[in-house]
Amino acid sequence: MSASAPPFLSTKRAPIRVSGPRVIRNPVWVRWLFMTLALLFVGCFLVLPLAAVFTEALRKGFGPFFAAFTDPDMLSALRLTLLTAAIAVPANLVFGVAAAWCIAKFDFRGKSLLITLIDLPFAVSPVISGLIYVLVFGLQGWLGPYLGAGDHPWFGEWLNAQDIRIIFAVPGIVLATIFVTFPFVARELIPLMQAQGNDEEYAALTLGATGWQTFWRVTVPNIRWGLFYGVILCNARAMGEFGAVSVVSGHIRGVTNTMPLHIEILYNEYNFVAAFAVSSLLALLALVTLLLKTLVEWRAQKGLT
């Protein structure tokens, strides 16, 4: 596995059972010390923030909490977030499957380079992920003059007439989101499909299946849990991305604000209850993601042993 992939991006996680020697162990006081330090660390950095989100959201009771969700700006942010994820996740899903198919099932030169390149977006700061799209499509960018300013007599006019904008508009947000969630599905599928090998596909072909039949009836059922795993992680990131989207959005309230950006606006307006109310929705999404992820991992472990 290439190093740049976050190590948690794999269903083949270490099994959650106790290992190590039975008799040769640390003294009891060391065990307690380690346990205390570890739980303190988890408490301060993980449990407290999570609890704070829900407490702060409900600080003034349920009325203001629910009021935050009736705000039309909030609803439009929710719609945009869902739309963005609805485009970015399937796009990266298709890409992930295609990339995993050619990398895992075939041998070709430059394969390890390709794997490294697929990982690249993980190494890029979210802010820079947004910036590069501004550079390509923005007013001062490569295509900007053609898209926005109307320098190009024909194409630009047409775009202007159709009112097509990319940066500081929805397409930019979608593109930036696709960039930051780019590797998730591919990263999950490549090692999985490599480990599974080609034998089942060969068997299907010898039995007279066509390429597509082989793919849909043999390959997809074999990788469906890995796919699901990649998709839920990809979706969590797509819905929660802040930095990259912040750069390309232009922060037009009710138009180009996603939920994380909406949180920022509410927070900067000192509307804390509403900010945390929206946050609690995203935190809930995070918890559901973790739950599903854990379930898939359990399943994978049971399947392996």
Partner: protein, 350 residues
Amino acid sequence: MSVQVDNIRKTFGPYTALDDVSLQVKSGQLTALLGPSGSGKTTLLRIIAGLEYADEGSGRIQFHGEDVTEMPAGKRKVGFVFQHYALFKHMSVFENIAFGLRVRRENRPPEAEIADRVHKLLKLVQLADLGGRYPHQLSGGQRQRIALARALAVEPEVLLLDEPFGALDAKVRKELRRWLRQFHDEIGLTTVFVTHDQEEALEIADEVVIMNQAKIEQIGTPQEVYDRPATPFVYQFLGNVNVLRAQVLAEARARKPGSIAFESEGQVYVRPHDIEIVPYAPDQPGIAAVLRYIHAAGPQARLTLEQVQTRETVEVETSRVTLAGLDLKVGDLVNLRLRQAHSFTDDYTI
């Protein structure tokens, strides 16, 4: 240094690994703990080493009369060689062997002496030039010997080896086990090793401890356990054996087919080479059998026969010269005579 094990019990949850096991390992001997997997032999070895503790209040371990039951592994002066060697990957061979000396708090030898000791040990295991290598650069047999050298570096009084040849291929195994026997004769250290390979145990051990299902079945010299197995299990575990119905033998002796057996319906154990084949004669004692198959490759001929009365199969081993003298072909009727057989009382189950 003798090792005395008294009434040791060890359970892992509902599973009993050792059930009231007692054993005396004599000083300076090479002892094999022999048994199938799951028989408890490795657990016993680990309890002797202090890598596992016996169940609370179950029994005692003594080294030369000193009770070490509660003593931690590091203080017992045992050398332990693990099945997969457990060499420290990040240390060179030299550092691996020196480890036990370097971690000493008291009377840690000076650097020059450590180097001297390590080199002597490397020479002893015949790998004098490999001190600078790392474990991943060694073959399986070399790793095995480095693990041994590492265990010997701390001058243990008991050497314990867990399946010492288990991870090696067949040829290296044979070489290495002869080497271990010679090596033991040179240094004379009390040594216990675990194996599931009866050939290995019988070939090099002074004493063999045969274990099955958490219990010791028999203790004895290789010849004793082979020639006078104490239980049906030992009989079957050490080499091929035919199991015949006692009734058949009784009838064969009486040579009156259909008459009532005078022995119980027990079983009789006969090794293939303890059966003699003679030409069939209706009035002579013996078990009537039909020759079904002759396997004549190798120094000994192996014959498969079918008992006329029970239709059960019997394996016979005989020299090829004897076989030639008999002039047999497949399908011939012969009489079988038992030179040596063993019967156990009925309550044994195998």
